[in-house]
Symmetry: C2
Subunit: 153 residues, 2 copies
């Protein structure tokens, strides 16, 4: 008889279902997928969507601004912006003051697209808020705590 059904857990206390990084990753992935249903039909990838969202309420912005704000790699932002420009949704100009900066802004076509998509995103947001109900405030507070926390290592 070989070693057979000897299921000896390495660490009995450990439960994957209660592990916060795992749960958070699962939830984030699900929400991201559901949200993507809103903008996928418009031909936007997730990085492109994020850039568009940022431009929708931040006006004219550089690549570096988006990188810091949304924690996207600058190369990711750069490529997303290049495709958005090719699609006619975003305009890239050289910053008149600082020649290194690229000033990104929505074109009329891009603004029209987001004027159509953002309300749907807000609907989804309100749907989520309704789902969470009484837990919403605590949930927001918890997320803020996690985002601002330093790892003790």
């Amino acid at each position: 008889m070989e070693q057979d059904i000897e299921i000896k857990p390495v660490l009995p206390d450990f439960e994957l279902d209660g592990f916060l990084p795992y749960l958070l990753a699962e939830a984030a992935q699900k929400l991201s997928r559901d949200l993507a249903d809103i903008y996928r039909d418009s031909g936007l990838s997730t990085p492109q969507w994020r850039v568009m969202v940022h431009l929708s309420y931040s006006g004219r912005v550089s690549v570096r601004d988006i990188e810091r704000r949304v924690s996207m790699e600058k190369s990711k932002v750069s490529r997303a912006a290049a495709r958005l420009e090719a699609a006619g949704l975003v305009e890239k100009r050289a910053d008149p003051v600082d020649g290194r900066l690229v000033a990104l802004s929505l074109t009329d076509q891009g603004r029209a697209l987001m004027a159509r998509l953002l309300p749907r995103a807000l609907d989804y947001q309100r749907q989520l808020e309704g789902l969470l109900g009484a837990d919403l405030n605590g949930f927001r507070h918890a997320l803020a705590q996690l985002l601002n926390s330093e790892k003790t290592a």
Copy 2:
């Protein structure tokens, strides 16, 4: 004078800082990065870590099991398992009952590694729980709600 500092937000109600899918994605990414500091030194990638964790408390499992449980693509699981086998951490056998299934299990070396890493993961978990404090229960409940929700679309 060209169109200049006319920052007209597309949708005034929209605030990225309060948008739940965005916040959740940010928080999940941060926790995943911090957690990775625990196992990165051991040469494990994130998919490999997830497979190891699953095997640590589930005993012998097939690729399909992991795919369903951890919502990882089966190709992702397959490649992670192949590398773990090459590293001597995981053993792959053919299931004696169902020839299609691959029975994955930890080797002694793999078990020893996880016996060293899992306590550190639990420490991190407890650190997070302490950080959340009174919000912890509500946070867990909220995550469960989100994970089980159906999109109204």
